[in-house]
């Protein structure tokens, strides 16, 4: 079982918790404003509480709420959420070698806990999957600690947002703290020139393709950045002279 004690006693568990606590205020403000938005858009309190407690996917929630309220067919709502979540499918390709030693049920829990920030922090700390059992245990301990804090922060604050919906001023734009949390993460990943280029290509493509339905601009932007950077890697390899300053 993934929530077992051996993980909680592994030193990596603490690292995972501490890394996530640094961005938690951003997640908290964002979760709070998502909770408020659910109630203000017209969901009943019970519906909003259930969504805040279990869905754990901010952008998919915000995309599906208007469809739910408009009485759209359930398959349309689920397909929309899936499209908004397609970046997670890409993340799961990346995460697969890290989790395949676990039984299926634990892999599903690990997947549920791997939101955007946990994915980013996890692959930053562990560029390679664990080579032996103790490394793999450490990695999963980090994932559980990190994702657990993310889940707890997001869920608690979303529920709080539902409860306090009429007391929280929406015009202040507190949710922008969530964007700043992601921005800080982006800066911490920008360690090579090619990664800067990836960020610039993806940011530009996401704006240019914004009109695509179902937030498909996100997936388009990731694909564009990966393709451009792989092509540049190849070009750089052909010119060994400039290789050193391009990073890897």
């Amino acid at each position: 079982m993934i929530l077992q004690r051996t993980y909680r006693h592994d030193p990596e568990f603490r690292h995972g918790v501490v890394d996530m606590l640094g961005v938690a205020p951003g997640i908290a403000a964002w979760g709070l404003m998502t909770g408020v938005a659910m109630v203000k858009s017209g969901m009943s309190t019970v519906e909003a509480l259930l969504m805040a407690a279990i869905v754990f996917a901010g952008s998919a929630q915000l995309a599906s709420i208007p469809l739910i309220l408009a009485g759209a067919p359930i398959w349309v709502i689920l397909a929309t959420a899936l499209c908004v979540n397609l970046r997670f499918v890409v993340f799961s390709v990346h995460m697969r070698p890290y989790v395949m030693h676990l039984p299926l049920r634990d892999r599903l829990i690990a997947g549920y806990l791997t939101g955007d920030l946990t994915y980013v922090l996890f692959v930053k700390r562990f560029p390679q999957p664990g080579a032996d059992a103790s490394e793999r245990t450490g990695q999963m301990a980090y994932l559980v600690g990190n994702g657990g804090i993310n889940w707890l922060t997001w869920t608690t604050c979303s529920v709080l947002g539902v409860v306090l919906a009429n007391a929280v001023p929406t015009q202040w734009g507190l949710g922008f703290a969530g964007i700043l949390a992601l921005l800080g993460m982006l800066c911490s990943l920008a360690s090579t020139r090619l990664r800067w280029i990836a960020a610039m290509v993806a940011g530009t493509a996401a704006v240019a393709a914004f009109a695509l339905p179902l937030k498909l601009n996100i997936l388009t932007a990731i694909a564009a950045a990966v393709v451009v950077c792989l092509a540049l890697e190849k070009a750089v390899q052909r010119q060994p002279k400039t290789r050193a300053d391009a990073g890897h």
Binding site: T45, G111, A202
Partner: protein, 120 residues
């Protein structure tokens, strides 16, 4: 308690919400489901190292430079200065502990006065 629980709850909506939680699990575990042995082609593995930063940029940039799906045409937007201040703080304090936390705090302390005070 009657005051607290507002709105009419629909059983079908509750079912939809449970299914949405299922979508969260399945999308994030999509490639964990099959036990079959296979490895990613090396170029995909190399390409994936760009996925985290690309995903973040794709989510963030439209939230900073667009309003209602349209590129902003003004410099009177609190988000621009908040993001710039946050990034500047990050690279000033890079290497110190909890620098992302500082990015959030500095960014919001630029954002709130401009947004709430000046309406930018």
């Amino acid at each position: 308690m009657d005051n607290f629980f507002s709105g009419e709850t629909n059983a079908w909506t509750l079912l939809t919400i449970v299914a949405l939680a299922g979508v969260s699990v399945l999308s994030r575990s999509a490639f964990f489901l099959s036990d079959k042995d296979w490895a990613l082609p090396p170029w995909v593995q190399r390409g994936l190292q760009y996925a985290p930063i690309a995903a973040l940029a794709a989510v963030i940039v439209p939230e900073i430079v667009m309003t209602q799906g349209v590129l902003i045409h003004t410099l009177r937007d609190a988000r621009l200065y908040a993001a710039a201040a946050g990034v500047a703080y990050f690279f000033w304090r890079k290497g110190a502990g909890q620098v992302v936390l500082g990015t959030i705090v500095v960014g919001m302390s630029v954002y709130l006065p401009l947004h709430v005070g000046l309406g930018w």
